[in-house]
């Protein structure tokens, strides 16, 4: 019997991240993991999250994997890249938030610089979700990392100009985020492109919901985005990213469940997003990272 294979008219843009050992994400001309249709030159990648301060609220089941490295972002990043085989490192500048340590942009810049010295995998840098402070810190750090071709985030509809300008002048790509709203996602990408930003330097984040906490909303919006992108909508034909670790480990189940519940929660959430078209999954637990890398390998085979 003849198999019906969908032929898409367009492709997802290919974004290159990193300078020493650059990786490519995106470039799909079909849907991931559909036998016969999957013409995806670049497999989904796993980034591991590193903080510039001790993430005290993390459950012990997660903290125990990193030990003392939690107090030293450079060691932590090295551990993730070397021992846990992270494809990318995602540095969260949590300490710069006015409600945490309110560290200065110079201190943040130093961390970025030191991490870049010791890792060869590409770096993602995200702020502390304090918009005003982020603008100051991220613009500074983008300049510190000039030439390293990082991925910076997170641009939102109300706050994208400073970050986009900084990325533009320092040669980085950008994460554009809309809160589970495909129309705003498209609008934001247009606004960013209006600043002479190239469409193939944008990675979309639709917000991430963990399993049991809104996963299906993000999942279906990611599917719609990918289908629109493959059907020729240039303003939605970008690769997508999910911050799975932070969401999975925030759940009641991960925090209070049995020893492995958090790992399972993170793995299950990430697996779902792989199937909805995620190109980068940011994760926390080394065991969950290992499982997801195996899953990608199995699904591609």
């Amino acid at each position: 019997m003849e198999r019906l294979i969908e032929k898409w008219q367009d492709k997802i843009s290919e974004v290159t991240i990193g300078a020493k050992k650059p990786i490519k994400i995106g470039g799909e001309t079909g849907i991931y993991f559909i036998d016969g249709e999957d013409k995806c030159p670049n497999p989904p990648r796993v980034a591991m999250e590193v903080w510039d301060m001790d993430p005290e609220a993390w459950p012990e089941a997660l903290r125990s994997s990193f030990g003392k490295a939690l107090n030293d972002p450079v060691e932590w990043a090295k551990l993730c890249a070397d021992k846990f085989s992270a494809d990318l490192i995602c540095l969260r500048l949590a300490s710069t938030h006015p409600d945490t340590k309110n560290t200065s942009r110079e201190e943040a810049g130093k961390v970025v610089e030191n991490i870049l010295k010791v890792i060869s995998v590409p770096l993602i840098v995200i702020g502390s979700s304090a918009p005003e402070k982020d603008n100051d810190v991220m613009a500074y750090c983008a300049n510190v990392a000039k030439g390293e071709n990082c991925l910076f985030g997170i641009a939102t509809q109300n706050n994208y100009k400073t970050l986009a300008a900084a990325c533009l002048s320092s040669g980085h790509s950008i994460i554009s985020e809309a809160p589970i709203d495909i129309n705003i996602a498209k609008q934001l990408n247009i606004l960013i492109c209006d600043m002479q930003f190239q469409a193939d330097r944008i990675v979309i984040h639709h917000a991430t919901g963990a399993l049991g906490y809104g996963l299906e909303y993000t999942y279906s919006i990611m599917e719609r985005t990918r289908l629109a992108g493959l059907s020729g909508d240039k303003m939605l034909s970008m690769p997508m990213i999910n911050f799975v670790g932070q969401e999975a480990w925030r759940t009641k189940e991960a925090k209070t469940g049995q020893k492995d519940t958090g790992v399972l929660w993170e793995t299950a959430t990430a697996t779902a997003y792989l199937n909805s078209g995620a190109d980068i999954i940011v994760m926390n637990h080394p065991k969950a990272v290992e499982e997801i890398k195996k899953t990608v390998h199995r699904l591609k085979a």
Partner: protein, 264 residues
């Protein structure tokens, strides 16, 4: 929607003059302007006044293809002029047009097969243009049947229900709209539909032409129109088109949807 730019037509004075004087710059500027306005193909018609239409067609096609490889819609009623045009097209051409007259169908579907061309089929025959949708559908059916008979995929056929000027043939507009909607049922996959849009406002006062065109286009899009021969350089017309397609959910909404369409 598949857009065929109408401007390179000897009915327009600037084009007629350029053909006569062999002024390449005028034609090439018109071609590039239409391409930049998102035309998917360009109609090429030497016009009624040309003394040697075959030579004029060859010159037009070659002149256009010096600056763009876009698909061309060879627009002529003369078989030899059609053959000349089709023979030198670099990209997949469009035959504009055939009607439901047996001899015409035999000749032009044969040419479509030979040149791997798409073809615009007018729902008219020797007896003229039917006055209602039923008559048009009958001819549309004939066109679809012949198309299959000559080994051409029905999806390469664009049915044109032939809109007449509203100032002299007012009852036709609603019949054309019905034909556009109903012709989707003639085959699976459905034949495509096309309109030579500007004809609807032919003869109306200059200040209303564009308004009539864009209003009718929006109505036709609501009835499922797939393609149109139109003035892609008319910004308000294009804005209406983009908006009508948006309302038909052909593209995802965002506040800058006009800009998004033009970025495609």
């Amino acid at each position: 929607m598949f857009l065929i730019g109408e401007r390179i037509n000897g009915m327009f004075k600037d084009v007629a003059k350029a053909i006569k004087e062999k002024n390449k710059a005028v034609i090439q500027a018109l071609a590039l302007k239409q391409v930049s306005c998102k035309a998917n193909a360009l109609d090429v018609n030497v016009g009624p006044a040309s003394g040697n239409p075959k030579e004029a067609m060859e010159w037009l096609v070659k002149t256009i293809q010096e600056v763009t490889d876009i698909s061309l819609s060879i627009d002529t009623t003369k078989q030899d002029v059609m053959e000349t045009g089709l023979g030198i097209c670099k990209s997949r051409p469009i035959i504009n047009s055939v009607n439901a007259n047996e001899e015409k169908m035999k000749n032009l579907f044969g040419l479509a097969k030979k040149h791997n061309a798409s073809i615009i089929g007018l729902t008219m025959d020797k007896a003229g243009i039917p006055k209602d949708s039923e008559g048009r559908m009958e001819l549309a059916m004939k066109l679809v049947a012949s198309c299959v008979e000559y080994g051409i995929d029905a999806s390469s056929l664009y049915l044109d229900a032939v809109i007449l000027p509203v100032n002299v043939a007012q009852p036709h507009a609603k019949e054309v709209l019905r034909t556009i909607r109903d012709s989707k049922m003639l085959a699976d996959p459905a034949p495509k539909t096309v309109l030579g849009l500007s004809n609807v406002s032919q003869g109306s006062p200059a200040q209303y032409k564009n308004l009539i065109n864009r209003t009718f286009l929006a109505m036709a899009i609501a009835n499922g129109l797939d393609a149109a021969i139109l003035d892609v350089t008319d910004k308000e017309l294009m804005d209406s088109l983009i908006t009508a397609e948006l309302l038909m959910e052909k593209q995802l909404y965002c506040d800058s949807y006009l800009e998004a369409y033009r970025k495609k």
